[in-house]
Amino acid sequence: MGIEVVVEGLTKSFGKQNIWQDVSLTLPAGEVSVMLGPSGTGKTVFLKSIIGLLKPEQGRVLINGVDMVNSSERDIMETRKLFGLMFQDGALFGSMSLFDNIAFPLREHTRKKESEIRRIVMERIDVVGLLGAEGKLPGEISGGMRKRAGLARALVLDPQIILCDEPDSGLDPVRTAYLSQLLIDLNAQIDATMLIVTHNLDIAATVPDNMGMLFCRNLVTFGPREVLLTSDTPVVSQFLAGRREGPIGMSEEKDAATLAAEQLVDTAPLHTGPRTVVPQLEPSPGMPVRQGALRRRERVMSMMGQLPEAARTAILDSYTPAAGGARA
């Protein structure tokens, strides 16, 4: 079963530039969470802070009682073995073949025999669809393949926590869809806590149990997916609809003048009524039931009272037997 990740009051700056401040959230054990945000809002920085690569000035990240910000280097190194991180461009070792790259964590951290390493690695290579390319160097394959190899390497130690940095960038829509399904299937199989950082709306709408959004140096919200998907906060609705009208500008946020001018023009609402919530992806047939989804159901039901009206109806809809098609 996955491990809960608790983030408390995290604040990170580079020099004078504040990236985000006072971010607090909990990634529930074994559930899939997505962190959304326009480009340049520090999503990757957030990911790297969770795993302890970057040290925020304030706050803490608790995993199994280890604070990834302030604990001793030795504890952090030990805790990192629970992680699998998929880097934005794969971050493969350029001097090693794909096979050696994917086998690297096994060779470093386990005493498995070479034959067993081979079996595990080939299995993972098969999962991400790279069979036949295992002898190639990272420089000889496409960006999408590098990404998938990076995912295979992140999975090879059966991690309890999987972090994905923009799994979709550089992939075509079909491969992105396959990847979404793959992530859900993985979650069903190994019940790992997952955090996906992305700005891909398809992934955001179909994959996660929980969603959060970073904007303008703050965590806008974090909660069950329905909360964000039905939210009418201007930032969120603009982002989810991919419109130009709204507080998000080309560079971070718009200034007041632009925003006021925009409102004068009074764009007619592009569509009315609450947005429909696309049903979440289910594991492929033959996969075990997602334990995280079962736990989430209990958790969400117990917090029903604190949720906004729209989210509540969406959740109830999704949990009624005829889920998905029941909407009038």
Binding site: A91, R217, P269, T272
Partner: protein, 288 residues
């Protein structure tokens, strides 16, 4: 269900766009180190890395394979230039000292004097130049390009310390190669000196060899090897430090390599001076 709501509710006061820019949030208090102290900051980080490496040397598992690969690499890029440089170097010292002793009428001590100069000074300096120029630059470029491609981050994320996995084997390799190379250069340099003194300046072989033991002593060799060991360590640490901290992009790696070589040169010559001064103070010269 709920009434249809406008997609973009016209209520800016709810969450006003923070137009105030960076001043919006209370920026965390940052201690800004003054410009004058910046070099000290870097020096401190360099020492911190040296301590971290020294501690990681004793941490298991030791990376035998990486160590052997690096040792072989460093040795292969330095042996030939070292041998080729040391012959003329020994010759120059032999000729120079030879002509000086001839003027002074102390020809019989030519051998001892030139051996002292080769073993104590020339040899460690040649080691320093080659280790930092050939091996250090390669190590720095290697680590630097791995750093900017996030390979080192990836390694750290997998719970593998890049210091233990990459830096320690490299530093140990430069140290060991430096010590062995120092021996090689001492021998080749001395032979070169002998050849030029005996053949070119008509020195007597017997006097040349006899003056070895008259002036030179074993501690001269020890300090020479100790210098080489320390030079190897410094060259490895500086190269690793610059390689681990390149400033942005491929150009940054190039700059880092450049700086690493220059910094190592300056450090090594300075350390050489200090070590020589200390040695001359604590080890009495032979026969005095």
């Amino acid at each position: 269900m709920t009434a249809p709501m406008p997609v973009r509710p016209p209520e800016p006061p709810e969450k006003p766009p923070p137009v105030t820019g960076p001043a919006a949030g209370p920026a965390p208090e940052q201690r800004r180190p003054s410009r004058l102290l910046a070099p000290l900051h870097e020096t401190g980080k360099l020492f911190a890395l040296a301590v971290a490496v020294a501690r990681a040397i004793f941490r298991r598992p030791f990376q035998v394979r990486e160590f052997i690969e690096q040792f072989w690499f460093v040795a292969s890029v330095t042996i030939l230039p070292a041998a080729l440089v040391s012959i003329p170097f020994g010759a120059v010292i032999a000729l120079q000292v030879g002509s000086l002793t001839q003027q002074l009428g102390a020809q019989s001590f030519t051998g001892g004097a030139s051996v002292l100069a080769v073993i104590q000074q020339a040899s460690p300096i040649i080691v320093a130049l080659l280790i930092s120029g050939a091996a250090g630059s390669a190590i720095c470029a290697d680590l630097g390009s791995r750093k900017i491609r996030e390979e080192l981050d990836a390694m750290e994320v997998m719970g593998v310390s890049p210091i233990q996995r990459l830096v320690v084997p490299r530093v140990l390799a430069t140290m060991l190669v430096a010590v062995l190379l120092n021996g090689l250069i001492s021998v080749v340099g001395t032979l070169g000196g002998y050849f030029f003194n005996v053949i070119m300046q008509d020195g007597t072989p017997g006097a040349y060899l006899a003056s070895f033991s008259a002036l030179a002593q074993l501690p001269d060799l020890y300090i020479s090897e100790l210098k080489a060991l320390i030079f190897g360590f410094i060259a490895g640490i500086v190269a690793a430090y610059r390689g681990l901290n390149p400033r942005g992009g491929p150009k940054g790696v190039g700059d880092a390599v450049n700086q690493s070589v220059v910094i190592t040169f300056m450090l090594l010559f300075f350390v050489n001076m200090v070590l020589t001064a200390i040695y001359l103070q604590i080890v009495p010269a032979k026969g005095s």
